[in-house]
């Protein structure tokens, strides 16, 4: 079976939202900055609730922030 991975545009969305810092985003969604770093680096796939919270902060649908793609595929 092909291996899929959760990918995200958090870094890009932060940049387009007045260059929101990782710390500010972490505070808004109630996690630590280290967790935001791990999500951005695609080392940690957040829970569905946290994913929705992040999408809510940016005011975009969930699929604009996170996607489920084949591992190895370029974004």
């Amino acid at each position: 079976m092909d291996k899929y991975k959760v990918r995200n545009n958090v870094r890009k969305l932060r940049f387009h939202n007045n260059e929101l810092t990782q710390e500010q985003l972490a505070e808004k969604v109630g996690v630590t900055r280290q967790t935001i770093i791990a999500i951005e680096g695609e080392k940690y796939a957040p829970s569905l609730e946290l994913a929705f919270k992040i999408a809510l902060v940016f005011g975009v649908p969930l699929q604009d922030v996170f996607s489920y793609e084949l591992e190895g595929d370029e974004k």
Binding site: V31, T32, Q34, T35, A38, K43, Y44, P46, S47, L50
Partner: protein, 150 residues
Amino acid sequence: MSYQEKNITVSLVSHLLIGVYYLSQLFQMQQAGGLVAAKVFSLWAIVIVAAIIVNIIGSILTNILLSIVHAIKTRSDQEERFIEDERDQLIGLKGSKVSYIAFSIGVLIAMLTFAFGQPPLVMFSLLILSSILAEIIGDISQLYLYRKGF
């Protein structure tokens, strides 16, 4: 290094110290002519109580020290966010699982030594040693997961 990592490091250091103390006491007992039941059981009690107290005091001191360092760094009385989020909880659970597996292997080895004719005191000594080692392995695995990203 995050707040959780610092807390785990303190826990790791305290477990290492307790482990070194335990092994040195056992070694001294062996040098003095072998394991004595009364001494082994009092050592058990000391190690268990020490592990609990040192962990609690270590955790409180870490909190206080980190708050002081944060206040000095930021020059404000605003409290630092020492929160435990979903990733911390997942890493904690994985660490506990690793600890549990390590302890289970330790218990099995301790039982096997008894089954193969070693005195019961050796088995009891190995039980406590395996619990200390399991905590150390659990702490190291958590630190590894934090360093790796998850």
